[in-house]
Symmetry: C2
Subunit: 516 residues, 2 copies
């Protein structure tokens, strides 16, 4: 059956937030767009499941926080409401089998009671923050020490700078929680770039005043669903693209079903490793072919475990915990804002995800419940009433989550290719964003930037209008990240050792003088 | 236009050496096979170009040597003749602008005249050889130190073990020459596994008695062409596969043109990162989806530069040179065995390839000629009569060459997935071989093993017949790799320093005694 050719101005590949924001902007400018989505749903790496047993639940990207002004603007426009993730009661940390619970998330006593640990953690994190400020997220290869940092892994940084096992554990947890991989798998330059893009370590790791502050009432997939509703039948589901053929002035896009679209421009809004899925004629440029092989997606299974009541609050726990023990390194309260469906959301990350994916769902549910019982020291956690999970590694149209992770050498050798258009094909997707890359906010930035690149190519806007500053959100205002002035002056472990050495030398000298 | 469904026993994807050897074995067993090749030629990563101006030339995989018994067996069966790569005259090394020419390739004076350099190089290479012997190439994750070695890059090994810049340079050159990437890009465990698979460093690096000893008269692509001729119309060109749908007992394979094949079994003989090109229904298992994103192909441009005469031989050079200076790190004589078409084959590797790919062919020809003139110190090299090259990074159906390169963590987290069948789909391709993986010989091993896995699944052979030992070739017999007994007892740099320290202490002691 030969299908009728569809003509359009722009074909957008991928109906996640990035592709849909690109299409929305182009559509509003009066251009004709067609959005082709491989899955039978929109949303990409955001996925809100719905079921009477739990109402709705975000099984993919879910959190938004201050300084993520683009996604906040879009959400407001679409009339979506936010609610705050519960952090009222105490937060738990669980290292080496010891539970610590603190009321203030910045309280360092949650990490260790050993001052040496705290000095070391403090100096490592300060160094990371300081280094990340030296990396321009739009061109990390231009950082003064780019070559050095890109030829080492985060593990190498840890080997050099972390003196205590607590500091190593903490940096390892940060890599797992933010990148869904191991410290030896990613380049230190990529690690710093991503932190710079996410407005620094504190902003990324925090709930209150940070990236995990809010969730959408009704789920994050509504962003995509509402944009898709605006675009109507311009969004076509279950249409994986198999081929892009570029001729002088037209580009032909063909889906697996054989449907063809003739467009002036194309925006690819799929995760970089999935570009391989599409056969380009002429082929992608050499460095781009090599780049897309070097951006593997992280490893994660997102779990939500439901309980009859939010009994942890009664025990003075807000539901947040971080743990050096698997399978859950980080968890948060996921009870609905109206108090219904009490639940804990927990991430199975990196190596834990790769190991536990071979279990049955029932076994994972068991392992996760036992984990909470141990970490919170509440046997009540052993009796969940429901359990939902999403193994993103098994998602053929994502390849993993949350984001592409770059090994040593990739940014300096191939980074320049990331946003470089190929003929009439432009590249969006959260990985190509400069601010909050990998997050929903970065998806909006990337989509709108790619759309404006096309408007510029069409002569509708000037080059300096492609990248636009975003006014700060009024509804979710950031407060400055508070750094205790003391932290800056705490000694690092080597400084402490030097001090002790100097003290001993002085003592000996004084004793000598006294005795002589 | 609806195409008629083709029924067959086995569909083989990829008409490189691996796929064709699989198909040949199955065909000889009486099974019906269909080989689907994306390109308009067979051969995969072997590619023999033909032109009156140079006769024929291997622009891809070309060399075969002793212990590569499987490819030698197949080549003999196909009546292909070998000739020896010229290594009669002196070999050149060029480090830090100093040319050294030696007659014996094992002569260490080619590396440096500083004994400290030689001690260091010697101890580093001995350590690498020793470690690689501890890695079982069929299950490198079982090596006693697998976890440690897989969480570090080759650069980390260099940082720890190489005391001199010459040793660092040499290990860097080995990584470039064998893996087409940088030492910070690959896992040390992968590095060792590949060396173990290639029968050790010396065997891999040598021309005489090593992997570069011979070439095929008429070119290596003839292996594939001759097998394809045996298979006749069972090999279908220009047929990239876009989809594999598995049902209970049948598997449907669909090409981009819409042609469908219904088969009992499928062999994928494409490089692992290209598995992404195929949409699997049901999708590939989670760990396999993640694995294929973590096996990027190396970066290489192969060049052949032609001259009027082989003037270098008259000057006492065989044409082999290694250099720490780009763009060519390694080159060999490529004159035809009958003395026609005098030429030098040179590899542009890793970072050089990624940088020089942005030049025009004419600029690269110029850079390569100037390089030879400098390294051999012969201005005659400035005047080539012809130049041919192949940029494998631009090959959409290879993604790079020679082979998939694994970053830190991949082997221990995902290595077990490499050869694991998925339903009725089995995996060949040189990357899945245990001996000479990444080489033509490994391609044969992998193809035949995958074919026998299917024969076993069909009940035609027993499980212990899947993996078969290969009798040694009579025509290309290996001589044992000669290790100078002295090398084992040469001190390493730290040993030398200890020795010197001990000597100084002793001297001081003796002086004290003498003076007192």
């Amino acid at each position: 059956m030969v299908k009728e050719l569809i003509e359009t101005d722009v074909v957008v590949i991928g109906a996640g937030i990035s592709g849909l924001c690109a299409a929305k902007l182009l559509h509003e400018t009066g251009l004709d767009v067609q959005v082709l989505e491989a899955r039978d749903r929109v949303g990409g790496r955001t996925f809100t499941a719905r079921d009477p047993s739990y109402g709705y639940v975000d099984l993919g990207g879910a959190y938004v926080g201050p300084t993520q002004d683009r996604i906040l603007r879009i959400a407001k426009e679409l009339d979506l409401k936010l609610y705050k993730v519960n952090e009222k009661e105490r937060i738990v940390s669980y290292f080496k089998g010891v539970q610590r619970a603190v009321s203030n998330p910045d309280d360092p006593s949650s990490l260790s009671s050993n001052p040496l640990d705290l000095f070391d953690v403090n100096s490592c994190l300060l160094k990371i923050e300081d280094f990340s400020k030296q990396v321009p997220p739009d061109a990390p290869w231009k950082a003064p020490r780019a070559k050095e940092w890109d030829s080492m892994t985060v593990k190498e940084f840890m080997d050099k700078e972390c003196w205590t096992s607590r500091a190593r554990t903490l940096v390892g947890l940060i890599v797992a929680a933010i990148y869904c991989c191991e410290p030896h798998e990613i380049s230190f330059l990529f690690f710093l770039t991503y932190l710079a893009s996410g407005q620094g370590l504190r902003r990324m790791l925090s709930t209150t005043n940070g990236a995990q502050e809010n969730k959408f009432v009704g789920g994050s997939m509504q962003v995509s669903e509402k944009i898709a509703a605006l675009l109507g039948n311009r969004v076509v589901l279950s249409s994986p693209v198999m081929r892009i053929e570029q001729e002088e002035t037209v580009t032909m896009v063909t889906t697996h079903s054989g449907q063809q679209y003739r467009a002036k421009y194309v925006i690819s809004a799929v995760p970089p490793p999935l570009l391989h899925r599409i056969l380009f004629e002429p082929p992608l440029p050499d460095l781009k072919i090599q780049m897309v092989q070097r951006m593997p997606m992280g490893s994660i299974i997102k779990t939500i475990t439901y309980y009859k009541t939010a009994f942890w609050k009664e025990k003075g726990f807000c539901g947040s915990a971080m743990s050096d023990k698997g399978p859950i390194n980080a968890c948060f309260d996921d009870t609905k804002p109206d108090g219904t469906h009490p639940a804990i959301m927990g991430f199975i990350l990196s190596t834990h995800a790769r190991e536990l994916c071979e279990m049955s769902t029932e076994q994972r549910k068991q392992a996760v419940s036992e984990h909470y019982a141990e970490v919170f020291q509440c046997p009540e956690f052993l009796h969940p009433v429901n359990y939902v999970e999403q193994n993103w590694m098994a998602e053929t149209f994502s390849g993993g989550c949350y984001v592409a992770t770059l090994g040593p050498g990739v940014l300096t050798s191939f980074g320049r290719e990331l946003r470089k258009p190929f003929g009439c094909v432009y590249f969006a997707g959260s990985e190509t964003a400069v601010k909050w890359g990998g997050y929903m906010d970065g998806a909006v930035e990337a989509g709108e930037r790619a759309a404006r690149e096309i408007l510029h190519a069409m002569g509708k806007i000037s080059a300096d209008q492609i990248w636009q500053e975003e006014p700060p959100s009024i509804d979710v205002p950031p407060t400055p990240v508070r750094v205790d002035p003391l932290e800056k002056y705490l000694p690092s472990v080597p400084q402490l050792l030097y001090f002790l050495l100097a003290f001993v030398v002085l003592l000996v000298a004084v004793l000598c003088v006294y005795l002589v």
